[in-house]
């Protein structure tokens, strides 16, 4: 009994000590809170623009980067000869003036004078010549595709260059080629360029590279010697988040000024929050169902999918409005052709009565007419008894694609086609789809356009893109011929009908069933910076850098 009393006493003592300890730690956190307030007010001076994203940059090498995030940063460090303004129209940049020859094969650029690289060395026509030549010759950089017909660069005088192409060019590559300094890159071999991580990028652009804390943030500082009007933000910092919830909370609590991408549900949650404005804009992206139409005898795809009727029937079974409603929470536009509506006049508008969409009756009718009759198990089969039963693969972590896949399985079943959905990680799916002997039937993923010009997205299904971007192994000489014609027609009035024809052709061939054009969802704080202009493609993370250069402190 005595022992019990001792224990009681000890217990009491411990509990009191425990409380004391608790109070002490609460005090420590409280003090930390005090320092937080001071450091926040010191660092949040509205001279720095703070951007949040969940998509980290890869390298700062303009020849080898592959991420949009690297592009976003590099496009403020390097200048292009021409650039896109907020309306996504070309305007002068490092070239003060430009002109095209009558045959559309030569472009002459009047370069700005007195321009200096960030390291103080003078910029010259020789840098332009070097950049175009090395990119074209060794297929380097994201924009190398635009230099397929490159011929030569001629230095007319110190401030004037002419770039010659073998064919007329509808798209001026000067909009996509970042000009790099010869004095830094000129001595490197192509393989050295490929492996170089360019720790301290030197450009002529409005911002100078300051630092990159790997996995944390990238900072650039204003270039006081830039040729254009000085932007208001002294520094821009892109902070990396691994979790969208935390990123959105950081915007709401004032630690960030703008977000490059906000998931739909979190975006909805930002509506009505104080000092935060969520913005929905058109994007240059779509998600599609891709069907293996490879004619390679080694292809493992189901040969029944080579029949256009079957592909169209799959297209008719889908209700795209419902897909947008359920998979994107309404933040998108039902899909049809391969160019999103953000392309404006370039997009072929298919009347809804003619769309291969949401018409299960028509699907059944064309399948019946083509001799695919419903078997005893409810699945249609051809006259040899081969069932319309296909494998469907999607990326497990892309929720909207998985949901769309599940809905697709149901809608196809309703017209007598069996789909078996399997989800994989993105890399594995990419490796399966891009196998030279493709052993798959149907997949789901998407494309972003590399430019606001239609050329890039139209180039994807080209025969010579098999083994590169062509994800459905589509091969159609008529398509290729039409593509080449539009790509070499610089006059927009003549080019528009060609671009329309090619989309219609590809649409009716139904190797792509475009599901939707998703919206670009961004959000910014209204109490720090003002002047954000919503633009198709996004205020930031877009082809134009003008929002970064034109915002002003509130």
């Amino acid at each position: 009994m005595e022992e019990h009393k001792v224990e009681e006493g000890a217990q009491f003592l411990t509990r009191r000590k425990f409380f004391a300890l608790g109070a002490a730690s609460a005090g420590a956190i409280g003090m930390a809170g005090l320092t937080d307030v001071t450091s926040a007010s010191a660092s949040a001076a509205v001279s720095t623009l703070r951007v949040g994203w969940t998509t980290p940059p890869d390298v700062m090498n303009p020849f080898t980067f592959t991420t949009t995030a690297s592009n976003e940063i590099l496009w403020l460090i390097y200048d292009t000869l021409l650039e896109y303004n907020l309306q996504l129209n070309p305007e002068p940049s490092l070239a003060a003036k430009s002109s095209m020859s009558a045959d559309g094969k030569s472009f002459t650029y009047q370069l700005r004078s007195g321009v200096k690289w960030h390291d103080g060395k003078p910029f010259s026509a020789n840098d332009v010549k070097y950049t175009f030549e090395i990119m074209a010759k060794h297929n380097l950089g994201q924009a190398a595709w635009s230099l397929a017909d490159f011929d030569s660069v001629v230095i007319v005088n110190a401030n004037k260059v002419t770039v010659n192409y073998k064919k007329p060019q509808a798209f001026d590559p000067a909009l996509a080629i970042p000009i790099v300094p010869f004095h830094i890159w000129g001595a490197m071999t192509p393989s050295k360029i490929l492996s170089y991580n360019n720790p301290n990028p030197v450009g002529t652009g409005p911002y100078k590279f300051k630092k990159w804390v790997s996995g944390q943030y990238v900072q650039v500082d204003r270039n006081a010697n830039w040729w254009g009007k000085q932007p208001a933000a002294k520094s821009i910092i892109w902070t990396q988040f691994e979790n969208s919830d935390v990123m959105v909370q950081s915007l709401a609590s004032g630690q960030l000024d703008i977000l490059t991408e906000v998931p739909p549900v979190l975006w909805n949650g930002l509506k009505g929050k104080a000092n935060v404005k969520p913005v929905e804009m058109e994007s240059f992206s779509f998600h599609h169902i891709g069907i293996n139409v490879s004619k390679n005898p080694k292809s493992g795809g189901n040969p029944l999918l080579l029949d256009r009727t079957v592909r169209q029937a799959l297209g008719y079974s889908l209700d795209r409005a419902q897909l947008v409603e359920l998979a994107l929470a309404g933040h998108g536009i039902p899909g049809s052709v391969q160019l999103p509506p953000s392309f404006g006049k370039w997009q072929e508008k298919i009347p809804s009565s003619e769309q291969i969409n949401n018409n299960p009756g028509k699907a059944k009718k064309i399948l019946d007419a083509a001799g695919y009759h419903v078997g005893s198990n409810g699945i249609r089969q051809d006259k040899h008894g081969k069932q319309l039963s296909f494998r469907l693969i999607a990326i497990a972590t892309t929720d909207e694609d998985v949901l769309a896949g599940q809905m697709f399985v149901k809608s196809a079943e309703a017209v007598g086609i069996k789909l078996t959905l399997e989800t994989l990680d993105g890399t594995t799916l990419g490796n399966i789809v891009y196998n030279n002997n493709p052993n798959w039937d149907i997949f789901i993923w998407g494309w972003d356009s590399g430019t606001p010009d239609p050329d890039y997205l139209l180039s994807v299904p080209l025969t010579d893109q098999i083994g590169n971007n062509n994800d459905v192994f589509y091969a159609n000489p008529t398509y290729d011929a039409l593509y080449n014609k539009q790509a070499t027609t610089p006059n927009p009035a003549q080019r528009v009908p060609l671009v329309h024809d090619i989309q219609k052709l590809f649409y009716e061939d139904a190797a792509y069933l475009v599901m939707w054009y998703q919206s670009k969802l961004q959000a910014y704080r209204t109490d720090t910076w003002k002047g954000w202009v919503p633009t198709r493609g996004g205020m930031v993370y877009n082809f134009t850098r003008d929002n970064y250069l034109k915002i002003t402190p509130r």
């Binding site: 509990r15 937080d36 944390q216 935390v246 909370q249 993105g426």
Partner: protein, 322 residues
């Protein structure tokens, strides 16, 4: 401890390492899919550029040759070149290891101290209200997923009260001296480290409580009490020492895992440590970085086990005799 014992243990250590290293190499090179194809998808490389990449990363050699090149380079401290970062793997790993050691190392230290302390508190008042509440609370926290506890702390400390930073390792762009930098990092460290401690302390408190409860009823405990020793001395010096073995085992396992990082907590708090690096490398098929990571883990686990084997010898005379 005999020299023979040490030699035997060391031999096992070297052989285990060699087997792990070879398996590590094979594992990543027999996997289907080519990283070059992955780079090419978004990079629009033509065949010539692709061939250059293949050569750059040494993928043009036979698997066998690649293996020997790998071994030779490894012995020279060269773990290869990251496909994604275009930097030496040692550089990529270096940054992540530092960050992980800071987070998981601090958290582990606190976890063990707090866990054992709670265990001792519970055991010395076995079957009391204190015991029950410590056990129930720690079990409750243990059963919560890391990310959930992390999110709750984020909401309390970052969103409602703004007392602590909720993301990253440093305040982006903050210009300050060494002391300011230290304080900045320390403040960023609090929430993720606290999360790990909350979730993991139970492991140590339960192990130490249960072994201690067993030890406390031994005859020599009664003897100690009969000698008139103070209760605290009895518990901390006599009982805990004899309850140490399972705690050392758990610690060894735990420390071996430190380098693995804490992927969920690193994700929630955007802490650029090993967990995140491994996850991203898996997604991006960055073989050289993955190989480097797994090599490090192998070394860490094998080394801590080696050390704990030696520690047993010191702590437990019975092991010494066998």
């Amino acid at each position: 401890m005999s020299v023979r014992y040490l030699a035997k243990k060391l031999t096992t250590l070297v052989v285990t390492l060699y087997v792990t290293v070879s398996f590590n190499f094979l594992l990543f090179h027999v996997l289907p899919g080519s990283p070059i194809q992955l780079l090419a998808r978004s990079g629009h490389y033509d065949p010539a550029a692709r061939a250059q990449l293949v050569k750059l990363f040494g993928l043009n050699h036979s698997l066998f040759t690649q293996y020997f090149i790998y071994l030779k380079n490894m012995l020279h401290g060269d773990l290869g070149f990251s496909y994604v970062f275009r930097k030496p793997v040692t550089t990529v790993l270096g940054g992540a290891i530092g960050n992980t050691l800071l987070l998981v190392g601090t958290a582990t230290l606190v976890t063990i101290l707090v866990g054992v302390w709670l265990g001792v508190m519970a055991a010395s008042r076995a079957h009391s209200l204190t015991d029950a509440s410590i056990t129930v609370t720690s079990l409750g926290l243990w059963s919560m997923p890391d990310f959930f506890t992390g999110m709750i702390l984020i909401f309390i400390c970052g969103v409602w009260t703004h007392i602590l930073p909720i993301s990253g390792l440093v305040t982006p762009g903050l210009v300050t001296g060494p002391w300011g930098h230290f304080v900045d990092v320390a403040r960023h460290l609090v929430l993720p480290a606290l999360t790990l401690t909350f979730v993991n302390a139970a492991e140590f408190s339960l192990i130490s409580r249960n072994t201690l409860v067993d030890v406390m009823v031994e005859d020599y405990m009664l003897t100690a009490r009969a000698k008139g020793l103070r209760r605290r001395t009895i518990v901390w010096r006599h009982a805990l020492r004899n309850a140490m073995l399972p705690i050392v085992t758990a610690t060894a396992l735990y420390v071996g895992m430190i380098l693995g990082g804490a992927i969920q907590v690193e994700t929630v708090f955007s802490w650029p440590g090993m967990g995140l690096l491994i996850y991203n490398s898996v997604v991006q098929r960055d073989y050289p970085v993955l190989e480097g990571c797994f090599l490090l883990f192998a070394i860490a686990v094998i080394a801590t086990n080696f050390i704990s084997d030696l520690l047993y010898q010191v702590l437990d005379p019975r092991v010494r005799r066998t």
